[in-house]
């Protein structure tokens, strides 16, 4: 997956992969935070703080300053994910939403409710995306009955990247048109 090259202002990129592209997302977070502030919204406990600090160290940068540029907020249910998105201000910076659907895969949440909440979440994602690029990572649905959620998110994306796609060398495009 080469996410970085696909990132453009006002774009919505979806990374769909096992474990919600956990490693890939960490590497992307590092690339992004090297260039400016980044907000990570974690819906499935996928954020790996120490991996990120280690990757930052490999870049030979001041990791204390770099890690201060990275903000993180977490949610643990689909209701909390909606609350998280609704209370996140839209800023001119990238947003990385990890495992957006984790809370929606909960068996206790009915299909209708999951669908309704997801629509509201996607509205918020579009709001955030007005000023900066948004990358969403998704884990596969645990059952075929819930795969409609993945399809719904992918249908709203400008680009969907999956592990099958070639892993080209990352090149760094400009994130914001200034």
């Amino acid at each position: 997956m080469n996410t970085l090259s696909a990132l453009k202002p006002n774009s919505l990129i979806v990374l769909a992969a096992p474990h919600a592209a956990r490693e890939e997302a960490s590497r992307l977070a590092v690339e992004l935070v090297l260039h400016g502030p980044l907000t990570v919204l974690d819906g499935g406990n996928r954020f790996q703080p120490y991996l990120i600090t280690r990757l930052l160290r490999q870049q030979h940068v001041d990791i204390i300053s770099a890690s201060r540029r990275l903000s993180i907020r977490r949610s643990f249910t689909c209701f909390q994910m909606l609350a998280l998105l609704e209370s996140t201000p839209a800023l001119q910076q990238p947003y990385l939403i990890l495992d957006l659907l984790a809370g929606f895969y909960d068996e206790q949440v009915g299909d209708n409710q999951a669908h309704r909440l997801l629509e509201r979440c996607l509205e918020q994602v579009l709001r955030l995306g007005q000023l900066g690029p948004v990358v969403i990572t998704l884990a596969p649905a645990p059952s075929p009955e819930r795969s409609f959620l993945v399809e719904r998110v992918c249908s709203r994306a400008d680009r969907v990247l999956t592990p099958e796609q070639s892993r080209r060398q990352a090149s760094q495009p400009a994130l914001f048109a200034r």
Binding site: P49, Y50, I52, S67, S71, I72, F76, F79, A83
Partner: protein, 712 residues
Amino acid sequence: MNKHTGWLMDLYPGAQGGLSLWLLCDGGERLQMQMNFPVCFYAAGESRLLRQAWMHLQGRELSLARTCRRDLFSGERDLLAITVPHPGELCNIFRTLSEQFPDLDYYNADIPLPLRFAAQTGIGLLGRCRVSRNEEGQVTALERLDSPWELEPEPLPLRVLYLSPDCDPVVCPPQQLQVRFERQQFCLNLKDPQTLKVSLEALLRRCDPDLILSDYGDTWLFGQLREWAPGLNPNRDPLKEIQTRNAASYFAYGQVIHRGAQVHLFGRWHIDRCNALLFGEYDLQGVLEQTRVTGLGVQETARKSPGAGITAMQMLTALRTKVLVPVVKQQAEGRKTLNELIRMDRGGLIFQPLPGLHKHVAQIDFASMYPSIMVQYNISPETNLSGAPPGDREEEGLVPHTLRPLLEKRLALKNQLQQLDPRDCRAGPLKARAAALKWLLVVCFGYLGYKNARFGRIESHQAVTRISRELMLQAKETAEDLGFTILHMYIDGLFVQKDGLGKPHDFTPLLEAVHSQTGIPITLEGVYKWLVFPSSRLDSRLPVPNRYFGAFLNGDLKYRGIALRRHDTSLFAAETQLGVLKILAQADDPREKAGEARRFAAWQLDRLRRGKIPLDRLRLSLKLSRELDAYRSPGPAARAGRQLEARGQPVRPGMRVHFWYVYGGVKVSDVDLKEIDLGRYRRLVERAVDEVLGEWGLAQEPVLPGFGAVPG
């Protein structure tokens, strides 16, 4: 007008509307009464949607009003208050409304009825009260006569009927039902359903039990009775039918938990000891104590985790202080930088042990450390998130307000217990009650951070662990200032040692100094004449936290993290390990008794070889951590699960499966002693023995013939 005094036993939506109450009267009568009891829930959200909801509900037998109440997280909210005249109808009305208006926020819609009753009348289940009723049996007045926080509540004169099959129904089909009531004990034959039905009906009529305490009642007995004796109604309320709840598997406390199907009765209680989560920990007395303080029904309390009890207590506080109880928690975590997350998202302090044998060690524990912190530092989602000591004028938050009386009662019971002779007949029930309260306190901290906890907040959770780490470091520094060596610290307890100190009173100055420094009471768990911290089996240079065994000055043993404490150890291996420890505990230096302990272990293994160990001592019990299909290379538990499934038994994650190791695999039933894989059991026992005898250097030489150190 009739007046009655007694204990409130049960309450539920009446079959003909209103509320049905059961009073266990002082005179011995079990009285059913009815009461009008309208209940209210709230909706909040956009005015447009609220107006539509109002229109939707108009014309029904409901009372609608506008009101304003406080949401703990978002402050005052304008609400649509919906009052339902019959409590039994609330569930349906709420479901229909929330389906129609899913974007509204709902409050107070799923509060257990006994909690609403307790909030409104001040009388909780098992509370003593005086009830006035009219000729129609309708309650006209209620008066509370005691409080759940009384240290010595009057004991309920309960009539208990014990029912249990003659064997575990999973292992073989039971032939008889063993019955016990007061001093009578007899068996009912299960072969003739008609006779069984008549006998049970007569039994229920004659004994009129308040509680049916069964083994496998939830998962076997009542299901079978429906087939064998279709017309039998074991409820005391003849208008009610048995309430069954489906089995469920869920993830909690870091593991998959399976709860079997449940059978609840009305007017009397049914508890299945085999399906009651912590019944083994605190018995019926503990269940009754939890019911008193949480307000949940007895049948609920027995089966649910203590977390449900804590939630109930918080709901009750919320109802009493007019704080809204959200149906779903919607708050998300606040923003943190990466640095802040790494600093805050941490657990309790673990200071690794110094492996090996130590003499004259004191174990000192902070009393209910986490709940004490929550109360003392006023940690609640709406109050102190920073963890700084609260100011004098700060209003007590909902969580500490709920916990304070619980904490005080538990400490008071513990003090009472310490003053009682262990042989005193009051000691047992008191211990059970203290244990039941302890479990509520144990889970209250975890609930602060539980994703679905209505009044949980991750920042509050983190503040508690942050304070706990600081207090542990303060305790360490205080002890070191007084010349103690710290052998191990684990979350809320310290193991300390100082040359020349070996009697309990020697440690009093340390306890006082730590208490004075930290502000949290700290108690002496005991002084060990010797204590061993085993090192890792993989590398003897590696310490293992919270794994130890030792003997107190009076010879009592304490052990953590060894085979005896693990659920996956057969009774035989556990008994052998305990036997070895008991021999070691006789000496001031366990090395003096190592030879005798080895001989005991060899004798046990010899009994195993000669087939003298009963099969029930060899049975293993393992938990299924996932669906059977999800096991890539099935271990013994999965193989046992598959055998059960092949026999038509429902198998779910979190379920415990019982089996024996036999030649060629495992077997869940119909096992013969000749099939038992003795070599495998021998290895398990050797390992358990090595775990306690393999310390202090003896592992290098064979402890038993063919019994060396377990290779790393």
